[in-house]
Subunit: 138 residues, 2 copies
Amino acid sequence: MKTYKRWLQNANLKVTPARLNILYTLDHANGFLTAEDIYNELKPTIEHLSLSTIYRSLEQLEKVHLIESVSLENKKEAQYELAHSKHAHHLICLTCGKVIHIHDCPIHDFAKAVSSQHHFKVTSHTLDLYGYCEACQT
Amino acid sequence: MKTYKRWLQNANLKVTPARLNILYTLDHANGFLTAEDIYNELKPTIEHLSLSTIYRSLEQLEKVHLIESVSLENKKEAQYELAHSKHAHHLICLTCGKVIHIHDCPIHDFAKAVSSQHHFKVTSHTLDLYGYCEACQT
DNA sequence: GTATCAAATGCAAATGGTTTGCATTTGAGT
DNA sequence: ACTCAAATGCAAACCATTTGCATTTGATAC
Ligand SMILES: [Mn+2]
Ligand SMILES: [Mn+2]
Ligand SMILES: [Zn+2]
Ligand SMILES: [Zn+2]
């Protein structure tokens, strides 16, 4: 918990139980979590926890770049993960939701080519690969 | 309109004004459209048009693969476009919403590599590039 | 420690995009 | 024209997320 406390202090956010627990939960998840996932995880251990606190905390944590939100194809709820400094892409298991991070990025050259070809100034991109993780390929 | 009629008939869907108009509208858009975009476009010309008809039509059209829905980063509404048979990716203008289709795909080799490296069976992927189109780069 | 005050929280109500129930209309085949 | 499933309009329901407001709490100053 020491680490999370420092993260919050460095970001000039008050250290509150909700925020510490949200960071801990995202840090120990093996895939993306929704606001409600986090709420359900924490509700039993925090009395009087409100779902709106989760939403407001996620908003703040994202604003200071401690976490990131992702929109997944065919999912309407926002999904969250701990922020990672290195540019990365995702392997997402369609069965168990496990997420593997890939730090290799095949897009930069491609973006450059496409960019000049279509006179389009590319500033960012999203690339997610869907399929089945080792455990789910039986 | 002749074409759209045939599309619907081939898909075993009844030919209705709403569906014809939705196909026409998507066919002539230069970017993705939301259900409400389409509704606002058609409302003036179709008396008693209901937004739920738009939603139900989009659902049907997607089911028979005449159109596709896309989830965009930081947009909560579903976006639609006419289906395209060839595998493609998107250049999306952050200012005007224009979408350019790229039929070049740099991912297949990458997916193969990553696949064997992480024992992950990749079945699909999404790749969208965001930035500014020629007209919006002033 | 105690006082202070903005920031964070709980709770309930409001939102906004999307879906659904139901009575009525319409398209396609006879 | 006749029939019947499918499509539609409208209102109400739904669900994820946001917001208003009264209360509590964390950080800083004494
Ligand atoms: Mn990630
Ligand atoms: Mn497309
Ligand atoms: Zn899995
Ligand atoms: Zn543009």
